[in-house]
Amino acid sequence: MAEIELHNLVKTYPGGTTRATDDVSLHVADGEFMVLLGPSGCGKTTLLRMVAGLELPDDGQVVIGGKDVTYLEPRKRNLSMVFQSYAVFPHRKVGENIGFGLRMRGVDPDEVKRKVAWAADLLQLTPYLDRYPAKLSGGQRQRVAVARAIVMDAEVLLMDEPLSNLDALLRLSFRAELKKLVAELGTTTLYVTHDQVEALSLGDRVAVMRQGRIAQCDAPTTVYDLPAEEFVGGFIGSPPMNFLTGTVVAGGDGGFQLDLGAHSVPVPDALSGFSGRQLRLGVRPESFGVAARNGDPGGLPAELEVFEPLGSSVLLTVALAGHQLKVQAPPTFRAEAGESLRLSLPADQCRWYDPETHLLLETS
């Protein structure tokens, strides 16, 4: 049993002016696959290194399996790690690299051999076992680093962008392999990535980080559907969420409307307190309903600026009342640039944000 609890971790690097992690608290349940997602430099690696014990926090606590390990040596934490820089030993052959941790622990040589063969097979490294890392490609080296980590059977597995250097196809297949493997091993996993697709596909939960803080930590679907901050909506999704700013005004039927200039969108009653003030509306590109000009009389009129067929869908750049929006339409949709379209906005697909705090507002 090894859940990870991080309590209020603060870390400022010597000479740094801003906090690399700023009061981060996170609870990873036993056997859970937690993904840390965020833009470059947001503190993901720093957080992982504090869990590993390679970096000491200025303040806060790291608890693994119920034991406070904040200042414990890395080797006594029973964890293994894939480094962002791989850190594959250049003076050791691939096989020796993979078995390094086991040998340090004094595991029986036959057992080491067996596990190395197993991991090498899993990561398609068997032909390279007798090579030195200098003679491997970047992706192969990265796989050695992953193999070295998974043979350990540690209670906690830390992975820092372990698939970043693989080609798209290999990454896809390893992603699935990794998910299966970690589920089988039941290891508590902290996985760092800045690839959102990887994050959503792998994680039991995804913690989205920004500037040293965790902006949101939820199941992948929740993080995608209900971004807790505008930042999360804008970071996840490709293309990201659209945001529109308008003023809340009283509508004719007693309800409220968000005035976008030429057009308006109904505002949920729960937000009537914003009457007369500004409000931000967030909509995912695929949430819009799109129809040709004379298709849907109730829709908002918009002008198509760019039409991009992407194979599995069609990406439209449209202008709506002076705002530029990205809209995703079914692959069969056809239109010409310059045409006008009608956009419909299902009420349950609208996310409302406070323009000052940029936080999600409750509507129900």
Partner: protein
């Protein structure tokens, strides 16, 4: 022949014409004048009799000299004792500096100071320590451990003489190994050591399985340089013991200056040259990196 023709044509880097030779010329001339010519002179001198005829008499005279055998043995003994101690000390000092103690920068400079002290000066400093009325004896007498002090550098005490030279050499030349090893450690990315920590290696295991192997190139350089320089050790022993503790280079000096015999002096110098080349080749062979490429 056909196989040669079928070989794929490699792209040759563009020819630079004759100009590289012109650029190399000044240094080549300098090398020939300052090293090549004296070398040839030295080799000739060692095999020439008074009139210029070929002879092995110089060598016979050298090998017949009891001082030569003693000098050779002393020199080798000094290397065997001093170089390993210096390597271990330097690695230890480096690890201490790497653990980032308070005033680590100061320690580094203090430990590097002997680099700036000339060998003769170092020898004289240690002479004030080991002389019959030197600091060491004063201390011993002061503490009541000895009545009249110990004749450390006396001809009758070869062991203490060796000890004094060893101590002085270690003090004088460890800093060079230290600086090389520190440079090597600082070039090493910290990731490897961190990976070893995470994967359960103890401090000793990390040193043995990661740090030292990765330091091998630096250690190799330090070892070659130190051994060759130790073959040339002279001034420290000269200052401390005169000819009571003869060393090879001391013998060259002796033959050339005091015995006025440049031919035998050249022969000794050639012996030193052969030993230097031999050790360098030996080390290169023994410590060759298993992998062709560098780290990463």
């Amino acid at each position: 022949m056909t196989t040669v023709l079928e070989k794929p044509v490699r792209k040759q880097p563009q020819r630079l014409g004759i100009s590289p030779w012109w650029l190399l010329a000044p240094s080549t001339v300098l090398l020939v004048l300052l090293f090549g010519w004296p070398l040839v002179q030295g080799i000739l001198a060692a095999f020439q009799a008074e009139g210029g005829a070929f002879t092995l008499a110089n060598w016979e005279r050298l090998f017949g000299d009891p001082y030569f055998v003693e000098a050779l043995l002393n020199t080798l003994l000094l290397i065997v004792i001093v170089v390993p101690i210096q390597l271990v000390l330097a690695v230890g000092m480096t690890l201490l500096i790497q653990s980032k103690p308070k005033f680590g920068g100061l320690h580094f400079y203090v430990w590097a100071i002997p680099l700036a002290v000339s060998d003769l000066a170092a020898g004289l400093v240690w002479l004030t320590v080991f002389a019959d009325r030197g600091y060491l004896n004063s201390l011993l007498i002061g503490l009541g451990l000895s009545e009249n002090g110990i004749a450390w550098l006396n001809y009758d005490n070869p062991t203490t003489m060796l000890l004094a030279v060893v101590v002085a050499e270690i003090w004088r030349a460890t800093s060079m190994v230290f600086v090389i090893v520190v440079a090597g450690v600082q070039m090493m990315p910290p990731d490897y050591d961190e990976a070893a920590q995470v994967f359960g290696a103890s401090a000793w295991q990390r040193l043995w399985h990661v740090t030292l192997p990765l330091l091998k190139p630096s250690l190799q350089v330090a070892l070659i340089l130190r051994t060759i320089l130790a073959l040339q050790a002279f001034a420290v022993a000269q200052a401390l013991t005169g000819r009571n503790f003869p060393l090879l280079v001391g013998e060259t000096y002796q033959w050339y200056v005091n015995l006025q015999n440049p031919a035998v002096a050249s022969a000794v110098a050639l012996v030193i040259l052969a030993l230097s080349l031999g050790t360098a080749v030996l080390y290169m062979r023994a410590l060759r990196q298993p992998s062709a490429g560098g780290p990463r």
